[in-house]
Symmetry: C2
Subunit: 436 residues, 2 copies
């Protein structure tokens, strides 16, 4: 095999080469032949190209090689680029020669038929090559760049918080690993506490990286490893925090609608359901949420956390995400700020995606009172020595601050309209799935 | 405490408010007083502001509060913005009132004096607030956005590779964690193998996330947790790969020089040493490198890997990074492609930063021959069942492909001119350091 990328054209760039001869490389997805004319569809990661071979105009060797092509054979093809409005990408290639770079035996596992999900996940390294999976991965990548750009343009400083931590964050469902002579390290479930320290240095920060939950949940909304984006803003209160969330989500959705139309079409996503996602979002106080739920027949009582079914009932008919805010203290994490107007509750919000996708963001104003935070740490029986540094943030110049966490895969699943979160991750990790 | 961010101005935005009254919030860094006029310097994460209080023009309460200010007290100040070329940021604030939001006791640990490194790392959550650390974190964030933008603009698809893996990648120095009924999971040392699978689906991809090494190294170039950026490109050979690397590094350095001048000045970085970092970079064949080293008195022999001292000798006098390419097979990883011109070597490169910073990138063309790769896996005694999916990439349409890994913290350390990599990470993880 020889190679020098400058001699080759990418499929996406072919319209600019119309009328000229080029060499392309890629993998065969389909072949068909009428005996004298053969059609080969290839993909190279940038696009899809239909190649036409006319038996009378190519060498006997090229024609013979055509006969050996199977799905996923990697090929190098030389030919003339012809504009053709009916073709995918607007061009086809009139081949003058065809070479096989890497053959593919006839037993390629992923066939154009129904496969069971376990089989597909066992072959995730190959399943990624299918059109639907490629479309999802591209939407995911667009969402991630949109997230980066949103915060960069607004002068947030990216601060990567550590994965390996000493007994910090939420407590159940931790993955542990031996850490030299330091005892156990735990894989971070959140970067928030570190983000708070960084916000006191840099004002507006965010982290965005993998987080881990060693939970035995088998739902369509849980992974053991997932990416989470967590901004933290000095001097933002809970209202500012919700405002940032609705601007953020609106930005992401608009960006995908603008730049990933082709992929959304491939996924048969009803984009009219996304076009209405614009700030501001409706805000429902937890007290009202309980009344609404009860009026809809739910048995939820004041003080309960809301489950997936409750969440679905609350967004019923909504054309954009909905905030539920100021939950009871017992239902939420220790670091949330007590609500001065109703100390049974905390200043927080969940942002629920429409169409039954449920919570995609949890946010809160943080408890900035040293004594009250200390009390909450003791109530929750958290290891005080591990939280000394976190208390320091309230000791030395405490400050109003708020932040939130957006779950990437849940957001991807919602925007792509996926039935299960596992397709939103390139290599999903589930309770029973660590490979490939 | 009350708060609504819309009523407040960020320090960086103050020049646009010249002549008007604004409210700002931030933390006190310095105070001094002449008895009738007081000066308070505050920072809010966006910038530094000098505030002037004239005793005769503020309320007695505000003047009294001034007397209580200590380093890191968080304050809210109202006053008039005045243009002043001598002031940091070009403005100062003539205060009309001052309120204390969060006091700070006199025992703030980080004082403007020399502290030992262990003390500073123990107080990393506060140390981050110092000017030098903030400058480093901002340069780091700029480098990370530059990385994202470089690949986004070039139509690479971001693919997040998993952290939790089943016995894959390099083998020594792995952190292990119990994974439900699946036995041990290991924290990824690289995303490359997954990146290769994704490159066959999407052509040009990159991953960029945390990676882990459970190694007992105590050098100024090693962390146990660090971020690595790993592009993988279908149809790129080793030459294309080096071209991509030099363009990538030149892009990053130019971006930091353009947008982070203030931070580089704060770090007293000699930017003339960065301004020469432009592609192409010198390329030295391993064979020549050994001869050069021997001529300089090194005892290195053909077949040895190159150590930090050798690397320093090779870049001596260079005004930009230097590639050393095509190392002996024994010195490098099993997945690198055998060099057809000299099968004792593999098609790979290390990219060495100037000024003694050493390797910041390792790259290679990947072995695309099924049988040769299988042989190498067996020679290295790797668990064959864990590599079945990786071999599949050579079974179904194998393809020329190459990629590399850039160590983020090493790159930050070089560009910032840091003596030790630990300052390049917000919360560095070292053998003996898991907190805060």
């Amino acid at each position: 095999m020889t190679s020098s990328s400058s001699e080759y054209a990418r499929i996406v760039d072919l319209p600019a080469h119309a009328g000229r001869s080029v060499r392309v490389r890629g993998w065969v997805t389909h072949v068909r032949s009428s005996g004298k004319v053969a059609f080969v569809v290839i993909r190279d990661g940038s696009g899809i190209l239909q190649v036409v071979l006319v038996k009378s105009t190519v060498s006997p060797e090229s024609w013979e090689r055509f006969g050996t092509l199977t799905q996923e054979t990697s090929v190098e093809i030389e030919g003339e680029v012809r504009l053709d409005k009916r073709a995918p990408g607007g061009v086809e290639l009139g081949a003058t020669s065809l070479e096989v770079e890497g053959p593919s035996p006839g037993d390629y596992p992923i066939q154009p038929k129904e496969h069971g999900i376990d089989f597909l996940l066992d072959h995730r390294h190959l399943w990624l090559r299918s059109e639907r999976q490629r479309a999802i991965l591209r939407v995911r990548a667009e969402i991630e760049q949109a997230i980066r750009d949103f915060f960069y343009e607004r002068d947030f400083t990216l601060v990567d918080t550590p994965i390996l931590t000493a007994a910090i964050g939420e407590r159940s469902g931790l993955f542990a690993t031996e850490y030299f002579d330091e005892g156990n390290a735990y894989l971070a479930q959140t970067g928030q506490l570190y983000g708070e320290a960084a916000a006191a240095a840099l004002g507006k920060i965010y982290c965005f990286g993998p987080t881990f939950r060693a939970e035995k949940s088998k739902t369509r909304r849980h992974l053991t490893e997932f990416w989470m984006c967590e901004p933290e803003v000095a001097f933002n209160d809970s209202n500012d925090n919700m405002k940032l969330q609705e601007e953020f989500i609106s930005f992401i959705v608009a960006r995908v609608l603008e730049r990933k139309q082709k992929e959304l079409a491939e996924l048969e996503r009803d984009v009219s359901k996304l076009e209405t996602v614009k700030a501001p979002f409706p805000r429902i106080d937890y007290n009202d949420a309980v009344k609404i739920l009860q009026s809809k027949g739910s048995e939820v009582k004041w003080g309960d956390d809301l489950g997936a079914e409750d969440e679905s009932l609350l967004v019923e008919g909504a054309d954009r995400p909905v905030f539920i805010f100021n939950y009871p203290k017992e239902a939420k994490a220790f670091y949330m700020k007590e609500n001065p107007a109703d100390p049974r509750t905390v200043l927080c919000d969940d942002c629920l995606a429409p169409e039954g996708y449920g919570e995609i963001i949890g946010g809160s104003q943080r408890e900035d009172d040293y004594d009250r935070l200390l009390e909450r740490i003791k109530e929750e029986k958290l290891p005080l020595d591990a939280y000394g540094w976190y208390l320091d943030l309230r000791k030395y110049g405490t400050f109003v601050h708020s932040g939130f966490g957006l779950g990437l895969e849940r957001t991807v699943a919602w925007i792509c309209g996926l039935p299960h979160i596992r397709e939103a991750s390139p290599f999903p990790r589930l309770m029973n799935r660590l490979r490939p």
